[in-house]
């Protein structure tokens, strides 16, 4: 009897964790589906800007000139960062009217890296995909919303673990893959729920856990800054935010020091929480598919490009960076994205059938309370 009680306990864990997170998980699955293909959708909506054709060996202008061209577009605004695109000779410069930008309220100007011509600019706005992303990420509730969804991810993990535990007694007398189709819709959905759930649980665990880790990005980055910056900034106590002498010089210095790494972007000196008031942060990455995802910041003093600090990337930022591709499914070409989408659809079926089973069981329980116990159906011996 003790065994039956344990199963009943797991069963109520499964029921309540699933019900508690249901609506949010459904929202995450539905908004996540288009986000898997956001690169393709952006291309299709022609949001991406292409560089005009020129000979491959056309030299590039200095980054300082590219940034100055963007600055000329928005005089008096603050340059936040410049991203160097890898596939095209383009530099995207972000500017904000305030020194510390309001979330999302900055302009992006795309510059041709060879001519410093302005190829496009994006005013602060939200298009459909941005809205889908915001709903998926924080439901327009900022960091609290993000952290809340992180907790939902943990509830999902609990629901998945209890589901796997329950799979044992339920399948004690059934061969793998059995779906008892003829009996009743309830049995058919019960078996389908168990089967699809157990088949996709590894993927759901991976995406759920990495999703939760991704919600911690802001606090983890704050933690890293808090560990790193105070000692670096001690000599500059009381000084205003520095002005970068030359972004090009900083990037050249980093390239010389780390010839095997690519430059991904440069954060200019800022009082905002994503940078340092006295340093340029040059974000570098490796050249292999894996190391290209492991960004590594190099700090260059704003007024002296020869003074470089290259801190070890702590384990928690490495973990965060591995979590991103594993959550987005964008690390194995389009076939992986298709598989990701199919798994997402299966997850929606598992969610929906779970709710149906809960409702159907309540109906049965009202009619005949003695048959109501979920575990009784599986009858572990």
């Amino acid at each position: 009897m003790a065994r039956a009680r344990t199963i009943r306990l797991w069963s109520s864990v499964h029921t309540w964790t699933s019900l508690a997170s249901m609506l949010f998980l459904l929202m995450l699955c539905i908004t996540g589906l288009p986000l898997i293909f956001h690169d393709e959708i952006d291309d299709w909506l022609e949001r991406e800007i292409a560089a005009p054709d020129m000979p491959a060996d056309t030299p590039r202008v200095s980054l300082d000139r590219a940034i100055a061209a963007a600055q000329a577009r928005f005089p008096g605004q603050y340059v936040l960062f410049a991203s160097l695109q890898q596939s095209e000779p383009l530099v995207t410069v972000a500017l904000s009217p305030t020194p510390v930008p309001a979330p999302g309220a900055f302009h992006r100007v795309t510059i041709d890296a060879r001519t410093a011509a302005v190829l496009g600019e994006e005013a602060p706005h939200l298009d459909v995909m941005d809205i889908v992303l915001r709903i998926h990420k924080d439901m327009f509730a900022g960091l609290p919303g993000e952290l809340f969804l992180g907790v939902i991810g943990l509830v999902l993990v609990l629901s998945l673990i209890s589901g796997v535990v329950l799979y044992g007694p339920f399948m004690r007398k059934l061969a793998f893959g059995t779906v008892r189709g003829h009996a009743s819709p309830r049995l058919r959905w019960l078996d389908t729920h168990n089967l699809l759930g157990i088949l996709t649980v590894t993927w759901m665990l991976a995406v759920g856990l990495t999703g939760t880790i991704n919600t911690l990005a802001t606090p983890l980055f704050d933690l890293w800054r808090a560990q790193l910056l105070p000692s670096l900034l001690a000599p500059y106590q009381g000084r205003p935010v520095a002005k970068a002498a030359s972004v090009e010089a900083a990037v050249t210095a980093v390239r010389t020091r780390f010839p095997d790494r690519l430059i991904s972007s440069v954060t200019l000196p800022t009082a905002a929480r994503f940078g340092s008031p006295q340093h340029l942060i040059v974000w570098t990455k490796g050249r292999t598919p894996f190391s290209a995802r492991m960004l590594r910041p190099v700090l260059v003093e704003a007024e002296d490009a020869e003074r470089i600090v290259s801190p070890e990337v702590p384990w928690y930022l490495q973990g965060l960076q591995v979590s991103r591709p594993l959550h987005f499914g964008d690390y194995g070409g389009w076939p992986l994205k298709i598989i990701w989408a199919l798994l997402d659809l299966i997850a929606i079926i598992v969610l929906g059938s779970g709710v149906y089973l809960w409702a159907a069981r309540r109906r049965v329980a009202r009619r005949n309370p003695s048959l109501a116990v979920d575990a009784g159906e599986a009858a572990p011996s």
């Binding site: 799979y167 779906v179 189709g181 088949l199 598919p289 194995g332 992986l336 598989i339």
Partner: protein, 73 residues
């Protein structure tokens, strides 16, 4: 077809299976999926292809068994 009554009496010819027997197939699928998730992280080309095949296993099995259930009432 095994029919289990709510009281728990299964048809006599199906012996209860051990935990290992219940979980070996799901475990195999889970390991394949985990390998698929990991492989594409480490390289392009062949690594990606291996990952597609491995991670397709849960999807294909879901389709096969799901369609069989939908068709075989």
């Amino acid at each position: 077809m095994t029919r289990i009554a709510p009281g728990g009496t299964a048809s006599p010819h199906f012996r209860p299976r051990s935990t290992w027997q219940v979980f070996r197939a799901p475990l195999a699928v889970g390991l394949a999926a985990a390998a698929g998730l990991t492989f594409a992280l480490f390289g392009d080309g062949v690594w990606d292809a291996v990952s597609w095949v491995a991670l397709s296993i849960p999807v294909v099995l879901s389709l096969i068994y799901g369609l069989r259930a939908a068709g075989g009432r």
